[in-house]
């Protein structure tokens, strides 16, 4: 009997030791995530801004030759969004009363607020300044949570007007954004 009692006591001690870690750790544990989706209409829009004061602009008037920083391209968005492509194209500056005449220029596309080139432009064949460029591919805009809208600047446009070859008058061209959303 005495030996059995020792066995019982020893067995109890062993049991406690084997469960010893259980007293420090949970004996069972699971975790998961409650998930809820909030969808509002995905909205975004591009805009050109005056580089000097950030006012939204839809046209730029230049009255002298030389180099001019004419616009900053920006995007406003209200949710995470990915564009497979953001590109720009620009036309020749043609005389408004004679579209066979043009004002030659070159376009530089820069990183915002820098003089560093963002991308090279591809001139239009037989153009006199016209061209195009892909600014971004597979570009994701990640919305941060502190404001309902986020805004990012994408590129600065700098035009170099060559005065020597142009007749006096008014010349007009277009700068156009093209994009595709994933």
């Amino acid at each position: 009997m005495f030996s059995k009692r020792i066995v019982m006591i020893v067995a109890l001690i062993l049991f406690l030791f084997s469960m010893g870690s259980a007293f420090c750790d949970p004996v069972a544990s699971k975790s998961f995530n409650l998930k809820h989706v909030v969808n509002v209409a995905r909205e975004y829009h591009f805009e050109f801004r005056n580089p000097d004061n950030n006012d939204v602009i839809d046209s730029v008037s230049l009255t002298s030759s030389g180099t001019h920083l004419i616009a900053t391209l920006a995007i406003n968005y209200n949710t995470n969004i990915t564009f497979s492509r953001i590109a720009v194209s620009f036309t020749d500056l043609k005389k408004t009363d004679n579209d066979s005449l043009y004002y030659p220029y070159t376009m530089d596309i820069l990183r915002p607020n820098t003089s560093d080139r963002l991308v090279n432009t591809t001139p239009t064949e037989n153009g006199h300044g016209a061209g195009a460029a892909t600014l971004y591919e597979n570009k994701q805009f990640k919305k941060y949570s502190t404001d309902p809208w986020n805004s990012d600047e994408l590129a600065d446009f700098r035009i170099n007007l060559d005065d020597a070859e142009a007749l006096a008058g008014t010349y007009q061209g277009n700068l156009q954004i093209e994009f595709a959303v994933v």
């Binding site: 005495f2 004996v27 069972a28 544990s29 975790s31 409650l34 998930k35 509002v40 949710t79 949570s145």
Partner: protein, 241 residues
């Protein structure tokens, strides 16, 4: 000499015997067969479709569950532990895109309720009850009859997880030994102090209320929650008391 010393101290329920060694040995043999089952415990979580929730997975609460009490998940505990166990629920904030630095947090509340205790198919009452109100249950590892009654603390409690980035915890405590009465073959109540009993199942449910309006606005405001997917981590741990 040695045997007489032991016979004076071990058995509190009448096996104390004064006499010869032969009587002591036979009395000891009738007490236990010595084959107690190993302690065991299992935790399962089920979603609102009664499908098991895998650890680490997402439980989606649809737009239709907004701003109302929704039975989001339930738990099933199975085991044979006779004494106290605690089930600790930890609810994390419901962050926008799981970003813990985000200030966009959907508050929610969770109510935890015990639903049933069973041994096999036999429902076990909860709370103190006289043994006469319950049918005895036996097992193959003791000579006793168990008049089971469960004890549950914390059922009905509600955790409110606010938009302040703080987690909330609630704990349910179960203990089969608190209210269960154990009797021997003579109908006398005995002091059963082992760690295991008949295998039981305990179930409960969690009712979640997301504090976002049907239109996706912050409750009592006209402010929209930002578009995106919101996540809150729920952790369930079972501890031996």
């Amino acid at each position: 000499m040695l045997i007489l010393l032991c016979s004076a101290v071990v058995y509190a329920d009448g096996y104390q015997v004064l006499g010869t060694a032969t009587k002591i040995i036979s009395a000891y043999k009738t007490k236990w067969n010595g084959n107690l089952p190993a302690p065991t415990l299992e935790l399962r979580l089920l979603d609102y479709n009664s499908s098991e929730i895998e650890s680490g997975s997402d439980l989606t609460m649809s737009i239709n569950t907004r701003n109302q009490a929704f039975e989001a998940f339930s738990w099933v505990l199975g085991g044979n532990l006779y004494n106290g166990i605690s089930v600790k629920f930890t609810f994390g904030p419901m962050y926008w895109e799981a970003d813990s630095s985000s200030t966009e947090i959907i508050p929610y509340s969770i109510k935890l309720e015990h639903e049933s205790s069973r041994i096999g198919n036999t429902p076990i009452p909860t709370g103190p009850a006289s043994s006469a109100a319950r049918s005895p249950i036996t097992n193959e590892f003791t000579p006793y009859s168990f008049y089971y009654a469960d004890a549950v603390i914390g059922s009905g409690d509600t955790a409110n997880v606010e938009a302040n980035g703080q987690s909330e915890t609630k704990t349910l405590v179960y203990n089969m030994s608190t209210n269960t009465v154990v009797k021997n073959n003579s109908g006398n109540t005995v002091d059963y102090d082992e760690d295991v009993c008949n295998y039981w199942n305990r179930t409960g449910k969690a009712t979640v209320t997301l504090k976002i309006t049907a239109a996706g606005q912050k409750v009592n405001t006209t402010t929209n929650y930002m578009a995106g997917t919101y996540y809150a981590t729920v952790q369930v741990e079972v501890w031996i008391q």
